[in-house]
């Protein structure tokens, strides 16, 4: 059982290996609008043989650019402008294109974020696998094919003999990602760059990919740079972690030390995000729920997407709806808002049924249910000023105009903690992501609603900013006694904000109840799979989980397979 090998062991065993990759004072510039600006500002990086280094940071931290630079590669529109890159004694800054080409694939391999886009649609997987060893003159075609079958098997792909003869679009996302890892391994390189390999996958699929990546890297004692924005993931994978921000190093330490004793404020704040906890709200006393979804079944055309959904939301409380992509959680929101009229069943507001189609609802019915979206960038019109974005619901619903409206807009800006004088005249392009999301909140509040649907409101935001948004929503809820429906795939967010939890899977509610109950076993099988698949900060989490699942399987208990198998 290779999974038994813990990260600590690995780190210790290889701590003394020779230096494989060394970057000193690396500077990379990117071109935008005819001007060059720094993306990576003088970073140092050292990687030993067999070591796994985690590069973590928010979007724009320069981590992917760094990863590619390790291969002596800069994307078009970028250039490596200074510093040195030494790979096993070879200076990649001065190496010729041919020298770098003989290195790429053979000794340094790359695993891209989206395997679906990075495999060539015109060729079979095994052809793309065999291409590297054959072209680099390492193996014959037959040897490479045999090796492919062997590695596909080791990466636990179903039907290792046959899967290689399929085309990329005939294979699922999680399997493709593993096939790409196999491909990266085909020349048995010294170093593999993993560029967010699981970001595009669902949590239950992610876990299998993470486990196999770790195994294979372990088995061949390959060094790796693991790039991700997910702290919990990097904690499972890396021996050592570097935290990047705006192209600069914030902190670097061995994984366990980094998790237990971060020294920098920024790092601490990243770790602290998940500590936010909503104050418990008393169970509802009123008999009529504010929103009642009553036996709703819905379909897109002929494809059924929701099956007999029922739940209630009470004033002042937050109901979190969790599930993976395709579970029907966003569709439920579309039914409630009236964008998708249900096939059967109905939605009641304050005891009275709402028309299924939003176009038949009264202004007042529309006003009372507001929505906050996942992507603040697309949720507000980039051609309108903040004043008009927030002001429109005021004049549309409440008939406010002129000075009155202005006063109210300013009041709302204060409520969402943005300085009215500084922000009221701005266009969305002059706001950061978190500020845009605050404007969206203000726009929803301007309608003076009783109920707000929050659709993945924090998932497009950096963790720090996300926490600020969660706190803000929580404060407003208490002040205005609002009901929230919180759609998310992130279990940590559920723990932080919810009073009640609904778990959805393939268009059905598999389990629902108060938060405390939901997070205490026994669970429904799927809930169990979902909850247990969410990575935790603990570096031993993946080992423990895999051991536990193996043990349960041995005892003959049912373990629900992730959807990707």
């Amino acid at each position: 059982m290779t999974t038994e090998t813990g990260t600590t062991e690995r780190g210790a065993a290889n701590g003394g290996g020779d230096v494989l990759l060394e970057m000193r004072g690396l500077r990379i510039e990117g071109q935008s609008d005819e001007q060059w600006s720094d993306i990576v500002k003088g970073l140092d990086l050292t990687l030993r043989r067999g070591e796994v280094l985690g590069l973590i940071g928010e979007s724009g931290a320069g981590k992917s650019t760094m990863g590619l630079a390790a291969m002596g590669y800069a994307r078009p529109g970028c250039r490596i402008s200074g510093g040195s890159i030494l790979f096993d004694g070879m200076d990649l800054m001065t190496a010729s294109e041919d020298q770098k080409r003989s290195l790429r694939g053979a000794r340094i391999a790359y695993v891209a974020q989206s395997a679906a886009a990075s495999f060539n649609p015109a060729h079979k997987l095994i052809e793309q696998y065999a291409e590297m060893p054959v072209r680099h003159g390492l193996k014959s075609r037959t040897e490479a094919n045999a090796d492919a079958v062997e590695l596909f098997g080791r990466l636990r792909l179903p039907d290792p003999e046959g899967i290689g003869f399929r085309y990329p679009h005939q294979v699922s996302g999680g399997q493709l990602q593993r096939a790409m890892t196999a491909m990266a391994m085909s020349c048995r390189p010294d170093l593999i760059i993993f560029d967010e390999p699981t970001t595009a996958l669902d949590v239950t699929t992610q876990i299998e990919v993470l486990a196999t990546i770790r195994d294979i890297v372990d088995q061949f004692n390959t060094a790796a740079i693991y790039i991700t924005h997910d702290l919990a993931v990097v904690a499972q994978m890396a021996d050592r972690i570097m935290v990047l921000r705006y192209g600069e190093l914030v902190e670097e330490a061995e994984t366990r030390r980094m998790l237990s004793a971060p020294t920098q404020d920024y790092t601490k704040s990243l770790w602290a995000v998940r500590s936010f906890q909503k104050q418990a709200v008393m169970a509802p006393e009123e008999a009529t729920p504010l929103v009642k979804v009553d036996h709703v079944t819905a379909a897109y055309g002929d494809t059924p997407v929701l099956h007999d959904i029922s739940f209630e939301i009470h004033r002042g409380r937050t109901v979190a709806v969790v599930g993976e992509s395709g579970s029907g959680k966003s569709t439920t929101a579309r039914v409630i808002t009236g964008l998708l009229p249900p096939v059967s069943g109905q939605v009641l507001f304050d005891g009275k049924p709402l028309p299924g189609d939003y176009r038949q609802r009264s202004k007042d019915q529309l006003r009372h249910a507001q929505m906050i979206y996942q992507m603040p960038d697309t949720a507000i019109n980039p051609r309108q000023r903040v004043r008009d974005i927030i002001g429109r619901p005021l004049s549309f619903y409440l008939g406010l105009n002129g000075r009155e409206r202005e006063q109210r807009v300013r009041g709302l800006l204060e409520m969402i903690e943005l300085d009215p004088d500084a922000f009221i005249d701005r266009f969305p392009g002059e706001l950061s992501g978190g500020q845009k999301q605050r404007i969206c909140i203000a726009r929803a509040l301007a309608a003076e609603p009783a109920f707000i649907i929050c659709d993945e409101v924090t998932s497009a935001l950096d963790q720090l900013v996300a926490e600020g948004i969660l706190k803000l929503l929580d404060r407003i809820q208490r002040e205005l006694n609002l009901a929230y429906m919180f759609i998310t795939h992130d279990i940590a967010t559920v723990r932080a904000v919810s009073d009640e939890v609904i778990v959805m899977y393939q268009g059905r509610i598999v389990e629902q109840g108060p938060k405390d109950e939901m997070f205490t076993p026994p669970h429904h099988d799927y809930t169990d799979l979902l909850l247990s698949s969410v990575p935790e900060m603990d570096p031993d989490w993946l080992d423990t989980l895999l051991a536990e699942r193996a043990a349960r399987k041995e005892r003959g208990e049912s373990v629900m397979a992730s959807g990707d198998q």
């Binding site: 019109n381 309108q384 950061s432």
Partner: protein
């Protein structure tokens, strides 16, 4: 209160990187112009020059538009800087008036095409469903016939006159505008802010004019330049074929045709109106090329 300051500090820390540049629009335009490549500056200069000539044609032209001032095909001289045409009218005068007529008619046609196609495209994108299907299929069919051929067919039926010309080409060209307007509007319509305004209960007019239109102006502006060139060339071609702008109105396409015989005598005069057409389209194309490059932030090298 403590919570408030906490959030604020985290805000200032993580959200400091916001471009808060809000320079005046004219200074921005000026700076962009200064940085523009030579081809764009050249193009802009050409367009401005043509507009000036078109507007001040009666002031600039030495003679009246269809005034016969000399004998046929007189060579270049002090009296007639560019000689005279097949009827003895001053070539330079005809060229100057030609700018006014040809550009003016092409401009009006393009505007009309944008009104029809742009409005239809936005509407199709917002309403979707049957409206979209109906309009799109209609446009498909209209586009299945080559534009010049379709124009010839319609001109045969209704006869050649300026209103007929403008109307026919505007309708035919509006299909291209429709396609573009619909495509770019589609990209906007799927955005959450449009959904938000639908759910607010806004009407179609508000959504079309306040939410969608401002966001599709840059691509539409670029397309306007391109469509103008196309319409301008099409009208010139029709006039050249004798089926466009009719005499005695001065027009570049028909000027080439009327004086083409001179070319066999190695006289370049008939090429001048053709060159005038080419120069303007080149100018507009250069400006549009630069504008597209700028507004999309598109670099070829991705």
């Amino acid at each position: 209160m403590t919570e408030r300051t906490e959030t604020d500090s985290s805000l200032s820390a993580s959200e400091a990187f916001v471009p808060a540049v809000r320079a005046g629009i004219w200074s921005v335009v000026g700076r962009e112009l200064w940085k523009a490549p030579f081809s764009a500056k050249f193009g802009l200069l050409v367009v401005v020059a043509y507009v000036v000539v078109a507007v001040f044609a009666p002031v600039l032209a030495p003679f009246g538009e269809s005034e016969i001032v000399g004998s046929e095909y007189e060579p270049w001289s002090e009296d007639f800087l560019l000689g005279t045409d097949n009827l003895g009218r001053d070539m330079l005068t005809r060229l100057i008036y030609g700018a006014r007529n040809t550009i003016g008619i092409a401009f009006v046609t393009t505007c009309l095409a944008f009104l029809i196609g742009g409005f239809g495209g936005i509407l199709a994108a917002i309403l979707g469903g049957w409206t979209d299907q109906l309009l799109s299929r209609l446009v498909d069919v209209l586009m299945a016939i080559p534009q010049l051929i379709f124009a010839l067919l319609l001109l045969t039926i209704v006869g050649t006159s300026v209103p007929a010309l403008v109307g026919i080409i505007a309708v035919l060209d509006s299909t291209r505008v429709y396609r573009l307007a619909r495509a770019v509007s589609m990209n906007v319509v799927v955005m959450d802010f449009v959904e938000a305004s639908r759910l607010r209960g806004e009407g179609i007019v508000w959504i079309a004019t306040r939410e969608v239109l401002p966001n599709i102006l840059p691509p539409l502006a670029a397309e306007f330049g391109l469509r103008f060139c196309f319409v301008f060339l099409l009208i010139s071609a029709l006039s050249f074929l004798g089926l466009g702008i009719q005499p005695p109105t001065a027009d570049w396409g028909s000027m080439v045709r009327d004086n083409a015989t001179l070319i066999t005598y190695s006289d370049i005069t008939p090429l001048l109106p053709a060159a005038a057409i080419a120069l303007l389209t080149v100018g507009v194309n250069f400006v549009v090329d630069w504008f597209l490059h700028k507004s999309s932030g598109l670099r070829d090298d991705h």
